[in-house]
Amino acid sequence: MIRPDAPVLLEIRDLRASVDEQPILKGVNLMIRAGEIHAVMGRNGSGKSTLSKVLAGHPAYSVTGGSVLYRGEDLLALEPEQRARIGLFLGFQYPIEIPGVSNLEFLRVATNGRRLAQGQEELDTFAFEDLVRERLQVVQMDPAFLERSVNEGFSGGEKKRNEILQMALLEPLVAILDETDSGLDIDALRIVAGGVNHLAGPDNATLLITHYQRLLDVITPDFVHVMAAGRILRTGGKELALELEDRGYDWVDEELASLEAGEAARTPLEVA
């Protein structure tokens, strides 16, 4: 839903980042307002996963330039856990297994951290159980998964559902979903996408990072951005994704080549 007067949730300006001194992001600009669904597409290595990790504060990536404002606040100055508590959520492409740590306990600690940051009171174990059972519906997940260790031994689909369950509990304002569709069969994709659609509302925003059109068949984006070589090359509506599906990414290479040839003068497109 595009509302030009909606408050800006995330504003990324000329963001540059590197890993092991290797520059990956080379000036990303992006503005996201409440209510919007954005999709970032691009080939492997275009920098789209790096963008998601930098936003969430992964320690392996160092920011070398630019800024990110989250509701007007300097996001990059915050620790990963602080970013999560104020409403930024990253759905991992490969959710991490943590043996020994109970999923239920993990969800409860995370949820209460977010609630405290929002000025709400912590939920005791009983109240939390009620909440979590209700939210399980969103992803049609078996409560038995609550008793297991975090993601340990979960199938790919179960891990992704667990990610969306966390999102349902943390109620983020900006949800970044990194390749949420990878490794999902069609049923799991439908359930996960249903969860995302269910959680999307006028006050929050979603940033989908994906490779394929098929996720966008079930979640309709307001904006589609094409990323290549560490920056956003082109921005359009949902039809841009269809065009990509149709024509492939070869034209991106051409555009990139001409861009690099003419460098200096041009600035990448921005979403206003």
């Binding site: 504060g57 856990e81 999560a84 260790s149």
Partner: protein, 480 residues
Amino acid sequence: MSSTATVGDLVSQPYKYGFVTDIETEKIAKGLDEDVVRLISAKKQEPAFLLDFRLRAYRQWLQMQEPDWAALGFPAINYQNIIYYAAPKQQEKKSSLDEVDPKLLETFEKLGIPISEQKRLSNVAVDAVFDSVSIATTYKEKLAEHGVIFCSISEAVKEHPELIERYLGTVVPSNDNFFAALNSAVFSDGSFVFIPRGVECPMELSTYFRINSGDTGQFERTLIVAEEGASVSYLEGCTAPMFDTNQLHAAVVELVVLDDASIKYSTVQNWYAGDENGVGGIYNFVTKRGQCRGDRSRISWTQVETGSAITWKYPSCVLQGADSVGEFYSVALTNNRQQADTGTKMVHVGPRTRSTIVSKGISAGHSANSYRGLVQVGPKAIGARNFSQCDSMLIGDHAAANTYPYIRCQQPEARIEHEASTSRISADQLFYLQSRGIGFEEAVSMMVSGFCRDVFNQLPMEFAAEADKLLALKLEGSVG
């Protein structure tokens, strides 16, 4: 807290039980000879058989050599420079708790062990041992109604000499090893538990050991007997003040379990570990052994070892009775310069005996944490089973985790399985938890306690949370 802080930075935190109680103490002169052994026995007004036991042990000790096989690095101990008996000056044990020196009650309260009538834990009976003597035992009368004897071993010597004579030294003979012999010669106090035939002990029993004096050794002796069909759950806790000298703690624990009886023995050991440079701390050289004498008997050892400069203990089970069961669940956390060499021996003698070993070692700083175990299956142990799991977690790259799981099998109808793994807290796991709003310290502590969960689940409920908290404290940061 910065996420650039390493996990290793988190595991140092000041020892919170390091205070000294200012109380007048009666001590004997330093040093050890036959006269000292006689003096200890006389002070405790012991019967002749016990003096003989001590003297025999002393003479055996003189012939023995301090063991060096565990390759633990520590300077030689001068056994003539230790005080072998120290007691707070309140003389006779008081008949009522109200008469106990309030300073002592206060000390235990400060340690989280309230023993006064008003504040004591409702379902746990406590024997509080201060330096060499037991100062109070709660709920004695209530336990006596069930025929359960729970008192200091000195009291038991006076009131139940026949039981002491029958069982003392029968599981750990006085010449078993160097430190057991020393303990047998000079042991000061400790707890005695007797659960008569068919009785399920109505509450948790607990002994709390406190070393207060700086130059005393602590040599407590614990003896627990469960007669046919009896059962008991027993927990011991230990703390000591911070001194920059090392103190010797050489305890002996003996468990005897008859047919269909069971003993669950839990330890939360938090003796002073020395400072970050390895100065001071307790040398914890302990012999713990239980004998499943009866058929279908069971012994379960659970330990959470976080303290001491050096820990050297192998709570063991001799599984004699047919179908008897031995269990060992252990968490050992070492930091700074601590050395822990711990594990268990499961000696399968009888048929269809079963044992389970779960050991979790966490090494941080420059510490060394070793699991050393023996699973021995003798020729008569037809159908014996053992399963062992030894996991190590390393925090930082200066700590050592060693695993020496020795297996000896002489019985083809036996099955022994052993698994070991080494892991660490990965940066990706930490980031995942952080990205859900869980702070760095809490994330580390969640993962460490998750790593230990199999063992904590075995602790009596009242203490599981305690143990979790203890580890969390050890992991809590001095990182700003």
